[in-house]
């Protein structure tokens, strides 16, 4: 456990630790912030994100709930309407299906529907994604559901530092924010994280790698795979820029389009199924702007299969983009024009 109390300016921590650090700092700074969800207390959350927080903050602010996602989400909405800053954890993103009325029909619409009289400062944390052998009902990437709902903001950090800074921004935001945490990143992603509680503004993309030959726009766990692919491609002389939108809504179209124009080639990578996936929105943004005229080759999308996530480990891997898939798609894109 690492927090701001340590004097170092930057600390190395895992993705899960970074999320916990942001939650801890926010709860220390603002007594309106509290967490509710399934098994987040003694158990520490299904992925250990809230480990130790019950001892630190007590049962009133670390609230274990029954297995009742609609009540969790609804209670969070009601508490937010009455001046609190709830952070609701859905144990698995997939379970949000139980809570969609409160998220989509209530939280997302209250501010608009009530003419701006009141907003819903709510954060919903969603552990999502495949790669854990949990099969079709515990492995989905449903960001498009949320991004397609006006009134919600959608955040998808790809590394520990962003997880912490973006979560601070999400908690400070007066609107409902869907905060998507890839389950595989929790322990596998480790890196330097600022010890300060500074928020990273929502709606600002990051460019973790620059290269002149093609631009990969990747989301969530696909950012690290795109970076690994870029390293491999560099060995054969292909230099890739990698753009990480970090927040899908609001989306930093400016940075994405600028970077695509600069290389003339766009490879869009997501874990979610292809049809009506979020990267289709990015492809449309390219097609609808003068960026289209800068393209040397058609936009290429690399997505998960239009199929539920399977259990078999080989098939599970095969159903979402892996590093070799990205390398191959990049090479094909280079050959295409």
């Amino acid at each position: 456990m690492t927090t701001t109390s340590t004097p170092a300016e930057v600390e190395t921590m895992t993705f899960a630790e970074a999320v916990r650090a942001a939650l801890t700092e926010a709860m220390e700074a603002d007594e309106r912030v509290f967490i509710l969800g399934e098994d987040i207390g003694v158990y520490g959350g299904a992925f250990g994100v809230t480990t130790g927080m019950l001892d630190r903050f007590g049962e009133a602010r670390i609230r274990d709930t029954p297995i009742a996602e609609e009540a969790i989400m609804g209670a969070a909405v009601g508490a937010a309407l009455c001046g609190m800053r709830p952070v609701a954890e859905m144990q698995f993103s997939d379970f949000t299906a139980h809570a969609m009325d409160q998220l989509v029909n209530q939280a997302a619409k209250v501010y608009f529907m009530l003419g701006g009289a009141i907003s819903v400062p709510l954060v919903v944390r969603l552990p999502f994604g495949s790669g854990t052998g949990a099969a079709a009902q515990h492995s989905q990437s449903q960001e498009a559901w949320y991004a397609h709902t006006p009134g919600l903001k959608v955040v998808m950090p790809s590394n520990p530092a962003d997880a912490k800074g973006l979560l601070h921004a999400a908690i400070a935001d007066p609107n409902p924010v869907v905060f998507m945490e890839h389950k595989v990143l929790y322990r596998s992603a480790s890196g330097p994280v600022p010890a300060t509680a500074d928020p990273i503004p929502l709606g600002v993309a990051a460019v973790p790698r620059e290269g002149g030959d093609l631009t990969m726009v990747a989301t969530g766990i696909m950012v690290s795979r795109a970076l690994a692919a870029a390293t491999e491609l560099a060995a054969s002389g292909i230099e890739a820029t990698v753009v990480d939108p970090r927040t899908l809504k609001p989306l930093d179209e400016t940075t994405i389009l600028e970077r695509v124009r600069a290389t003339g080639r766009a490879l869009l990578v997501q874990e979610a199924p292809r049809t009506a996936g979020f990267t289709a929105e990015i492809a449309a943004a390219i097609a609808e702007s003068d960026t289209l005229y800068h393209l040397l080759a058609p936009v290429r999308r690399l997505s998960g299969l239009d199929a539920p996530i399977p259990y078999n480990p080989e098939l599970e891997k095969a159903s979402v983009p892996q590093v070799p898939d990205i390398v191959q798609a990049a090479r094909e894109l280079m050959e295409a024009g």
């Binding site: 009540a71 609804g74 209670a75 969070a76 009601g78 029909n105 701006g116 400070a172 609001p250």
Partner: protein, 363 residues
Amino acid sequence: MASLATSAEDARRVLATMWTIRRFEEAVDELFARGLLYGTMHLSIGQEASATGACLALRDDDVITSTHRGHGHCIAKGADLGRMMAELLARDSGYCRGRGGSMHIADVSKGNLGANGIVAGGIPIAVGAGLALKLQGTDKVALSFFGDGATSEGAFHEAVNLAAIWDLPVVFVCENNHYGMSMSVEEVSRLDRVADRAAGYGIPGVTVDGNDVSAVYQAATEAVERARSGQGPTLVEAVTYRWKGHSKSDQNLYRTREEIESWRARDPIERFEQAVLEAKTLSEDELKQVRDEARDAVRDAVRAGQTGPPPSRDLLAGVYAASEVDQRTYTGDGAPAAPAPAERAAVGPVAAAAGARGEAEAP
């Protein structure tokens, strides 16, 4: 507890609220019939006693969640009639600036967290409100109105159970008007009473005559006191009946004229007036004065609504509240997303006759 009919002050307030609800909804019905109102309406004519009695048991700083059939709750919690009517007439001066309509009127300053277009949608929200009020160390209470239809929803089960295990200061008021649209309550449950469901959550459940405003008030008062003193939630079932159809598309194919007439004979307002006269609390003239004031207040509200300005066309500015750290969300051209309170108050103070009990602080 003495009947509300024996105190002149209580009787006047109760009648003012019930008559205002009745006249307001009659006006809405008429405006709709004349083609002056858009969309659809869910009228609660015949159910005035449950909204009035339950809200009378609350303090101004307590909060409520309401339903698609919410005009009565809204008025009983002290809403401004002019702004309500302006909303139904889709004006910028309406509670929701013409964006919500009948099913989304809220008045946060009066503790009304809003009507709701989703059956049972407000119940979990009331539980969250109760949680916030408890975490904040207040003794405020959240009261959730919902219909018999809502008790078939999963949200009802999850939310009532959560309030029960956390001893939250919440009062669940089921207005059992016998029909969820066309489906009768007998057809959707094996239980004789909705209140029997309370046993499944280990909380008290009580059924009252929802057309007897004093009975509703008494049951709600006990439930509110229980909630306020930290003893947790109560389920109050107020048995009542809606005279009008579910909404504007209803042709009453699922119930008989005789049934409707039998309930019209149990008019909650007439019954209460009779009790007031029998107790000699108010004279016939005084009753007439209350009725006239309600009629005038609604007439003023219609006028205020009809003269309200058209809504802003900048819809995208109304989707997200402005954030200090978010650099890209569109919230308009730097202008505040909502108009200043002073601008919106210009509609006219007609809430007094509607039973408003002074300004409440925001919850």
